[in-house]
Amino acid sequence: MKDDEFKDDTIDPALATRFAALRSELAGHDAPRCVEKELLQAFARQFPKQQPWYRTLSLPQWGTAGALASLCGVALLLALAPHQAITVGPPVIGIDSGAAFIALESLERIESEPHARVVEAELPQTALASLGMPLNPQTAGDTVRAEMLVAEDGHPLAVRLSAVN
């Protein structure tokens, strides 16, 4: 700091002592805390903190975002969930020398049934329409003789139509 070449050592010793006392006394004097506080407030005004993006959204925007997220979540769950394909197809129908065989269950299920039995029955032709058989309106009121292949628990597995009455 002080240049030696310029340093004036001719100071009155009494004055030097008093300066030392003043320097010592002033050592504990700092600007009041309120100055720093006000300066930091001014700093905050000058450099406002950038808010995180999620604080910039309004309530309606939050609602929309939530709804979209829910939809996406549901779609994702549906896409990822293990699901069984539900196929509703026409029953397997086979025509063999004028008789029709209609499988009501899959062939594997029918083959795996150990104690299947055959039950004879008379079915209205209208019931055959629901099994995919063509229906003649003129004979819709007639019945048809059928042999039902039934599982041990009574569940129908297949129908064989032997003749139309």
Binding site: D8, F19, L22, V35, E36, L40, F43, A44
Partner: protein, 199 residues
Amino acid sequence: MTTDSTDTELLRQVHAGQADAFTALYRRHQGPLYRYALLRCGSGDAAADIVQEAFMGLLTGRLGYDPLRGQLQHFLFGVARNLALKLDEARQRHPQLPEPPDDDGEPDPDMASESAGPLARLLGNEAAEEVRRALSLLPPHYRDPVILYELHDLSYQEIATVCQVDIGTVRSRLARGRAALARRLHALQPAPSHDAHLA
């Protein structure tokens, strides 16, 4: 942020919006600046205002500090000095009512302290308070070099930069300021008692 960061680095961070850097810079320089302003103006409130104004100028960039032209501390002393000069001018434009003189014709420091801040008692130590009051009665152009040289260890060259005068002027003002201060302090010394002479 380390305490070893230079003022220039801290200033760069301040202007980038880092509050920690501003706090570090303020805490590094507020003490000397406040003490200078306190002795220069003789009022804690005025000194606090000066410190705040100086740092506000630094914060907003209004002061245009250039690190190549000197240390920040000395620059702030110069700013504080200019603010104190403005305060002096304002006091001259709106003078206070004169205090009635004492019997010896000298203004009573304690009486003056109530109207003029510089003479209000600020320090607890009696010797320090005496020299502070004597300093406050010096003309401002003597007061500046004495404060900066004796209490802040600035060189003649640095004082010349702060006060915007040449070195020779600093030397002469410092010498005259010291002399005036010594005279005033000597006058404050209690005269040796008659009994002491007799002994």
